[in-house]
């Protein structure tokens, strides 16, 4: 069987069953979204850090993803870090120049053998580069240990080669 066939078959299987290749990594549930639209980011945390339970999940909001609101989560405390954006964006007829830049869920306890999801929503501004990947770097803290899912892939193809890739989405053209 040729490489191409293997790739096609596995791609088909992955799409069919809706699972990403790097299933052990922290990833986003919806891995592509159109610019100029609202995006609900569901952060999937499949395990702790080297067996230790996860206590803190922090996510860095990328530039161009505005008006971010995290969804409250039972048993977890939510904190946001606000700041100025690099530029101002138009959001439903208004100029927005500052907002949430980091969200942290803390005080929880997610054992290594359980799975959980952390949700926020925001708006993908229309100026974001279509066709490229928008990364959401995540730091996962487990007591005194931490895993940093912050490696930004240079091209979409090399995401698999990274040890701790940041979760990201592929930007689609505006609908």
């Amino acid at each position: 069987m040729s490489n191409l066939v293997i790739r096609l078959v596995s791609f088909g299987a992955l799409t069919l069953f809706g699972c990403a290749a790097a299933s052990a990594h922290i990833t986003l549930e919806t891995q592509e979204a159109a610019v100029g639209s609202t995006y609900k980011a569901v952060l999937r945390v499949p395990h702790g850090c080297e067996g230790a339970a996860t206590n803190v999940v922090r996510i860095k909001i990328p530039e161009g993803f505005i008006s971010v609101k995290p969804m409250p989560k039972a048993g977890w405390k939510i904190e946001t870090v606000k700041g100025k954006y690099a530029q101002s964006y138009e959001y439903y007829g208004e100029q927005v120049s500052e907002g949430v830049q980091e969200v942290a869920w803390s005080g929880g306890e997610l054992p290594d053998e359980f799975y959980d999801e952390f949700v926020l929503r925001g708006f993908l501004t229309a100026g974001l580069p279509v066709g490229e990947t928008l990364s959401f770097p995540v730091v996962q803290e487990c007591g005194d240990k931490a895993e940093r899912w912050i490696e930004i892939p240079k091209a979409s193809a090399d995401a698999d080669s990274l040890e701790f890739p940041a979760p990201g989405i592929k930007l689609l053209p505006k609908k």
Partner: protein, 530 residues
Amino acid sequence: MSPVQALCWLLASLLLSAVILAPNPAAAHAALIKAEPADGTVIATSPSAFSLTFSEPVSPLVLTLLQPDGSSLALTSSRLDSQTVVIANPQPLASGTHVLSWRVVSEDGHPVAGSLLFSVGAPSAAPQPAEPVDWLVRSLLWSAKVALYIGLFLGIGGAFAIAWLAKGGREGQRFVVAALLAGLLAAPASLGLQGLDALGARLHGIVLPAVWETGFATSFGWTVLVALAALAAALLGLVLPRLGRPLTLLALAGAGAALAASGHASAADPQWLTRPMVFLHGVAIAFWAGALVPLGLALWRKTSMAGIFLRRFSRSVLPVFAILVGAGVVLAVIQVEKPSALIDTAYGRLLVAKLALLAVLFALAAFNRWRLTAPAGSGDAPARTRLARSISVEILLAVLIFGVAAGWRFTPPPRALAIAAAQPAIAHFHTPQAMAELTITPGHTGEVAASILMFDGDFGPLDAKEVTLVLSKPDSGIEPLKRPATKPGDGTWRVDNLVIPIAGSWNARIDILVSDFEMTKVEGPIDIRP
């Protein structure tokens, strides 16, 4: 003591002190400490000059720049600023990877060579300079050294024995003259060969004045000058019997001084100890080995003076033997440093070979001294014949030992190897965001410590939250070895208790956590010596 003798003693001691006090701070082969541009760096524009800083002052021999197109450019203009060789760059460099190949001579007369790679603008593939060994030049240099030893020890020592011990007997004079002439020829020849070896030139280069100048510029130049003077004095001492004693005494001191002027042993620290030890060792060898041929021939031919010659020799040989062994032991301890080096290094193995030959020689000498000397001295003819035969074996052994000792020219002693081994391995990594200098000390396999110095892309300080060193060797199947670095507080990051299992080119990656969500990685190869 006659006035002439007193004058000779004075001259000899002046010669000796001149050699001992000659400015020569060399501790070992010079090692490159720092280079500008540093090895492995990428520089934005063509530099106006290069600089190489060594562990001791050196004289540059050959400096060439291998350019990206494969052509080589001779760098002829350089000056020495303390321990730094500053080399002018004659032309703007094209972009791409260059190899600066350098060959310098350290104070111990040993050529040291190396090369460093840097790129202008961006790296390109660079041809690797090779360093071939010219075995023809090496074997000629070795032969010249052996011939020089024969001249210094058997020639000068023989002349001394004829003048001082033989009581008018002239046995062995023809052999001694031949040995002196061999030495007189070998001394300048070895100078030219030394020049060839230092320059890495082929044999036909012997006609070039630069080769001779180079040979002369090494500390071996002094050895040759002093040796020529001493050999000539000994020859004159044989021709002019009235001045025989003072001239041969001077020559004997000159033989010791010639040896003390250059070579590994003389270059070792502490100089106040090693140079006199080499001098004494050389003088004692010349005294002992030199007397063997005239004495053996006198005994063989059963001349009337043979008995007195033998008594004089055997009376003085014990203190001379003590000096020979004492000085030899001191030098061996300094050079070898630890017993395991006797087997682990080429230098040590040559020393073991020399010691084995010496053991046989000493056993034979002891047998001669305590069994044969008394009957032979009292005129027992068969005893004299046996002693003469046994002495001829001693001479053969002595020449073999000279051959082994001449081989040391090509092997750095463990002392110098230890200094070289302790040198760190250094690599520079560069990305637009960050620059890191990784130093692994010592730069060989085993337990090492890594030190990391980082700058941001504009050479400003880079304040990292966390730094991780990742070492891997994919070609040997060694997966990444990940170690967090700590901050000792001097601006560097350190990883202690690191063990590097095998030698070769390792891939080093430094993960620099700049802020909570931002990591910069720099990566590149670092060479680890065995």
